[in-house]
């Protein structure tokens, strides 16, 4: 090793160090951005009302289960949780079943009005739900799907569909058509080529748009509050009552609303990571 080369290496080690520092700080900051609010939510959920209302805040939870016990005894909360999960799951399935073929068609076929179609899909998000909820509710009551999780899932699917279509559209566009053509020459038809070649490649992306659909449905309040009565979802059941509740119950209620969604995202995270190229299988 000559003097000349070491001189070249040293500054690059410095920049690498600095780069590493920026990288680590960035990662820590991003994690803190997500984790610190969740941690405070947890602490306040596990605190007595007096501690929640006092300052400064402690960083160690005192494991007072009063607020959570209150919700454990809250009439109807389990049914609402079950409904929320069912609606979110149905929204997820329906938005993928309808959205993925639309995304495939947009990326593979040329047809008249394609650009207009893409715009129209986005339009379903252009109208605020409080505006749509009244005519929807009237129609639902008349057709008899009022107050069913299926009816609500239909509305949530409409909300999630633009994301499903656009995400899958860019996924399919990222896969060269040559792959499919190769499969056709080897004896596949359109369907089997899709199933054996394309589907495994796009599965992570489809998971991502499924998560999107799940979260959209999970967080939606207004349509759920208007369109369901006996079969309320957790957000409709709880969220609109929380803003006027005492602080310690707000925290506990918020915690209950957040945890199931977190568990779900954790459960499907390996498909997500696979999409970003970090294999975790």
């Amino acid at each position: 090793m000559t003097a000349a080369t070491t001189e070249v290496v040293e500054p690059s080690q410095d920049t690498r160090k600095a780069g590493r520092f920026v990288y680590v700080t960035g990662v820590v900051l991003l994690c803190a951005w997500v984790l610190v609010p969740l941690y405070f939510l947890l602490i306040n959920t596990l605190s007595s009302p007096e501690t929640v209302n006092s300052y400064p805040k402690s960083f160690i939870p005192e494991f007072d289960l009063g607020s959570l016990t209150f919700f454990a005894g809250f009439d109807g909360i389990l049914t609402a949780l079950k409904n929320s999960v069912i609606v979110a799951a149905m929204t997820m399935v329906m938005s993928i079943v309808i959205g993925a073929p639309a995304g495939y068609a947009l990326s593979r076929f040329e047809f008249r009005g394609k650009e207009l179609f893409r715009l129209l899909i986005l339009l379903t998000r252009a109208f605020p739900l409080p505006l749509l909820a009244l005519p929807l509710a009237v129609m639902f009551i008349r057709t008899g799907i009022d107050d069913t999780v299926f009816g609500l899932a239909l509305v949530h699917t409409t909300l999630a569909l633009p994301f499903a279509v656009l995400i899958t559209f860019s996924l399919f566009s990222g896969i060269p058509i040559e792959l499919e053509e190769a499969a056709w020459t080897l004896g596949c038809n359109r369907l089997t080529a899709f199933q054996k070649v394309i589907l495994p490649l796009v599965l992570p992306g489809i998971t991502a748009s499924a998560i999107f659909a799940f979260v959209i449905s999970w967080n939606e309040v207004f349509a759920a509050a208007v369109l369901t009565i006996e079969n309320r979802t957790l957000t409709a059941f709880l969220l609109q009552n929380l803003d006027t509740s005492p602080l310690h119950l707000k925290f506990a209620g918020g915690f209950i609303l957040v945890v199931p969604a977190l568990i779900f995202i954790f459960a499907v995270r390996k498909y997500l990571f696979a999409m970003w190229g970090i294999a975790n299988r």
Binding site: P49, E50, N53, S54, Y55, F70, F71, G73, F74, D75, I86, A89, M90, V93, M94, V97, P130, A133, L134, A137, V138, I141, R142, I145, D147, T148, V149, F150, A153, L191, Q195, F222, A225, V226, I229, E230, N231, R232, A236, L238, Q240, N241, L242, D243, T244, S245, P246, L247, L249, G253
Partner: protein, 421 residues
Amino acid sequence: MTLLSKVIGAASGIALSCTAISAQAEVLFWSTQAKPVEEAQAMREQVLSGAGDVDYQPNDGGPWITRLNAELSAGSGSIGVLGALHGDFSAMNPDDLVNLDDLGLGAASDTFNNLAKLGTDNTLYVPWMQASYIMAANKKALEHLPEGADINTLTYDQLIAWATNVKEATGEAKFGFPAGPKGLKHRFFQGYLYPSYTNGVVRTFASDKAVTAWEKMKELWAVTNPGSTNFSFLQEQLLNEDVWIAFDHTSRLAAAFNERPDDFVAFPAPAGPEGRGFMPVIAGVGIPRTAPDMEASKALIAHMLKPETQIATLRATNFFPVVDVELPGDLPPSVQAAGNAVAIMSASPDANPGLLPAGLGDKGGDFNRVFVDTFERIILAGQPIEAVLEDQKKTLMRIMEETGAPCWAPDAPSEGACPVE
């Protein structure tokens, strides 16, 4: 392919089974009141436990009215009984509410019973419970009371002096006012400040006396916690001691008294040159014309008006009975404190009770907006008082003329629409 078909099969299976489950035997109680989770729980477990099968569902105003309108225009529905404030009912079309004359129920107060007719000849809702706005203070603030002041006969000048003393002693402005997005500040102007200073609300909106009232409000705001524009439930700020002296709705102060009964006192709203203005809050129960089981709905309303239900409601929601009942001695601290303050307020020699705005129909929100805008322009934006009042007066006049609403107390009665003088 198999996976896909399985998924589709499962989804349609779930869908079908869910559509199939729709058994309905209970009465749906669709309410805007008793919304906080603890109150909703108490309504279900204590108030409605003896009323048969009742599904109590408290909602935000938006979903409440949207669902109701949807059922009314679809011509069939599941809502059995409506529970809401007088203002919510008065915004409805009277034809959509069932005539409740044959129940023969009503409040002890004829004023309330007349309000419940919504300008028609029939009872369209039955008064259910009442509340009011009062003051509450941390006991630490009491030593700073100006000389000669008694909290039970406080004037606005003394309140300003008191809050100034507290600010000088602690270095922080500790008067709290519900000026947050969900705060009920408009009621303070309509039922407290204006009646106390001008002996009116609509007629005197832009009078010289109103200018004085807003000048006092400016003085008060100078010693008010600037965070008040975020405060909507003063019980929170009383408990965390950001605020020592507060004005709010009795049920929005309740948690402070219930959690630390020995630390707080409740007392009447202050008095101005025209007396001690104050205003009731009335909630009622009514039946929409689309109710599925009219008999069950009427039975539920009758249950809500029973003396023992009224006391259970008081415990659950901190709203007081509207019928004559003997209150038991073991009520929660918040109820005792608020009950005392309201009693002293209405019995005080200078009492100047006002009424809720009536006859405004769906313009109730616009009417409130006039007062909120005036507050924001004069107090928050610092615009000149006379100019703002002249400007807002036009909006107020338009609302009154469009609705033709006659004057209500403390304004002198009018023939036809209440004039803005």
